[in-house]
């Protein structure tokens, strides 16, 4: 064994440790890293779902790619979560004219109509931000991004995401509510 190799061998655990520390900036994590977070569903009655309870519900997956009001693109990423339509059903369903208020820990609120809950009436764009005919879209309350728990800086633990089967379909980011903690059906 050369002098250099002998010198480097004891360093391997140190380097592994350093790399592990540095890895924090890339957002790795395991399923055990899901934080404590509750979602309040308010419809005919009010109920609270814990994060594990949400993750136990049937899940939907797809690509999400959003753009801000000034044209900054975020994505594409692969998302996994619960269909908003399923959550609305759990809240007692929504009529044609009812509105869905989705609000967040930071005081943000966005309102959806029932068509949007079912993936309709969104505008979609190509990479050059030209409008394109929307493909089938679904709206989920996402808890996973690219196979990892959705990070807080990305709007986690729960974020509303518009997904499709195509990685190049961009949707308006205004409806991608971050840090969702309440979904409420407003009867009309």
């Amino acid at each position: 064994m050369s002098l250099v190799r002998r010198a480097c061998l004891p360093l391997i655990p140190v380097l592994i440790g350093v790399l592990a520390l540095a890895a924090g900036c890339t957002g790795t994590g395991s399923a055990d890293d899901y934080p404590a977070w509750n979602l309040t569903l308010a419809g005919d009655q009010e109920r609270v779902l814990t994060h594990p309870e949400l993750r136990a519900l049937p899940a939907a997956e797809g690509y999400g790619y959003s753009v801000s009001t000034v044209g900054i693109k975020y994505g594409p990423n692969r998302y996994r979560g619960v269909l908003l339509a399923d959550l609305i059903e759990m809240a007692g369903g929504a009529g044609t004219d009812d509105l869905i208020y989705v609000s967040a820990e930071d005081g943000y609120l966005w309102v959806f109509d029932r068509d949007q809950v079912n993936g309709k009436e969104f505008f979609t764009f190509d990479e050059n931000l030209r409008e394109v005919t929307p493909p089938p879209l679904r709206v989920i309350l996402a808890y996973e991004q690219d196979g990892k728990p959705l990070a807080y800086e990305d709007g986690g633990p729960l974020r509303l995401v518009v997904i499709s089967e195509n990685s190049d379909v961009i949707t308006e980011g205004s409806s991608w509510v971050k840090w969702v903690d309440r979904i409420e059906v407003h009867r009309k």
């Binding site: 002098l3 004891p10 360093l11 140190v14 350093v18 900036c25 009001t69 005081g107 609120l109 309102v111």
Partner: protein, 344 residues
């Protein structure tokens, strides 16, 4: 060979390799600047000029709507050096408040630096392009087959300003029904401009979803410009600077309705827009007409306050010189920049 220096070198090398995820320019000061969307083009020019004079500073520009720009500091607690908004009143309304962490308000001052006005932008292919004038624009836009776009008032100040301009036009031209013909009638139920005791109030629905193809509502100005290019709409309510920057044609509207004249502030104040819901807990849902004034401030918790002040001065100088496609300097006198303090 002593093992300790070798270990140090290797560890340093690994840290250097991983440094990309935390800070790419440790030798330069990173100045975080958050402007309103309609300032992005001027700020790109200003950033380049500022960095050439101050190579030790790396200016990072991140555009947002004006309210969201302020919320980066207040609700989202990000460390921001300079905030520039398209509605000066938002700074005292949202930032002259105690910080959630630390002592004092988020800021106690702002400096207005530019103004703008709402225009009707169009292209040579727009329906009625060969006949529209500053005198007949509202008649052209009222035609059923002419498509009109504006940005979502929930998301963009230019959106609720488009609503205000159209309501003011109805009164200015003495044309009852103008507001409904251009905008309101395309919604179900129709959006109406209601006059009570000298105040015109427009109550918007929660969802700004037109019921026909005459009106198009998009999240922001850039999407309207794209629609104009593609022929998806014929006319868009835009800021004059945005229309000019993008090489569009536009109709200048009269000062009593274009929200660009301080002399008509009392007229503008008579129009109120009630947004369909309170999007942010930190600001209400009523918008009252007033002259369009851009303003900036340095948050109290800015990480680099000295460099931020230098940048503010640089922006003031740049806007005093002005440029085609930029908002107009707020005052022609270069020595007349006024700083408004919390005690004013």
């Amino acid at each position: 060979m002593n093992r300790s220096p070798a270990l140090a070198v290797l560890v340093l090398a690994v840290f250097a390799a991983s440094a990309g995820c935390t800070d790419t320019g440790s030798e330069r000061t990173t100045l975080m600047v958050i402007p309103a969307g309609s300032l992005l083009a001027p700020l790109e020019d200003i950033e380049a000029a500022f960095e050439s004079q101050h190579p030790e500073i790396d200016v990072r520009i991140e555009g947002h709507g004006s309210i969201q720009a302020i919320r980066q500091v207040t609700d989202l607690r990000r460390e921001v050096d300079v905030v520039l908004v398209a509605d000066a009143s938002l700074i005292p309304d949202m930032m002259y408040l105690p910080m959630s962490e630390g002592e004092g308000n988020y800021t106690d001052w702002y400096v207005p630096f530019a103004g703008n006005e709402v225009v009707v932008a169009y292209t040579g292919r727009s329906a009625g392009a060969d006949e529209i004038t500053a005198e007949n624009w509202y008649r052209v836009l009222s035609r059923p087959g002419v498509r009109v776009g504006f940005s979502n008032p929930m998301l963009d100040a230019c959106g609720y300003r488009a609503i205000m301009v159209t309501a003011l036009a109805e009164e200015h031209y003495g044309e009852p029904g103008l507001f409904e013909a251009v905008i309101g009638g395309s919604f179900n139920p129709p959006i109406t401009a209601v006059r009570t005791d000298g105040i015109t109030t427009i109550a918007l629905p929660e969802r700004m979803r037109p019921a026909d193809e005459k009106v198009a509502v998009r999240d922001g100005s850039i999407y309207l410009l794209s629609l104009l290019d593609a022929g998806g709409i014929d006319y868009a309510f835009e800021y004059r600077s945005v229309a000019e920057e993008h090489g569009l044609r536009w109709i200048d509207l009269p000062p009593p309705i274009n929200l660009g004249s301080a002399e008509h502030a009392d007229d503008y104040r008579r129009v109120h827009v009630n947004l369909g819901f309170q999007r942010f807990r930190s600001i209400g849902s009523e918008r009252i007409g007033q002259p369009i004034v851009y303003a900036m401030t340095v948050p109290r918790n800015a990480p680099h306050p000295d460099e931020a002040r230098m940048f503010v001065d640089f922006v003031l100088d740049a806007f005093r010189e002005g440029k085609a496609g930029w908002p107009d300097p707020v005052r022609p006198d270069p020595e007349a920049a006024t700083v408004y303090h919390a005690t004013d």
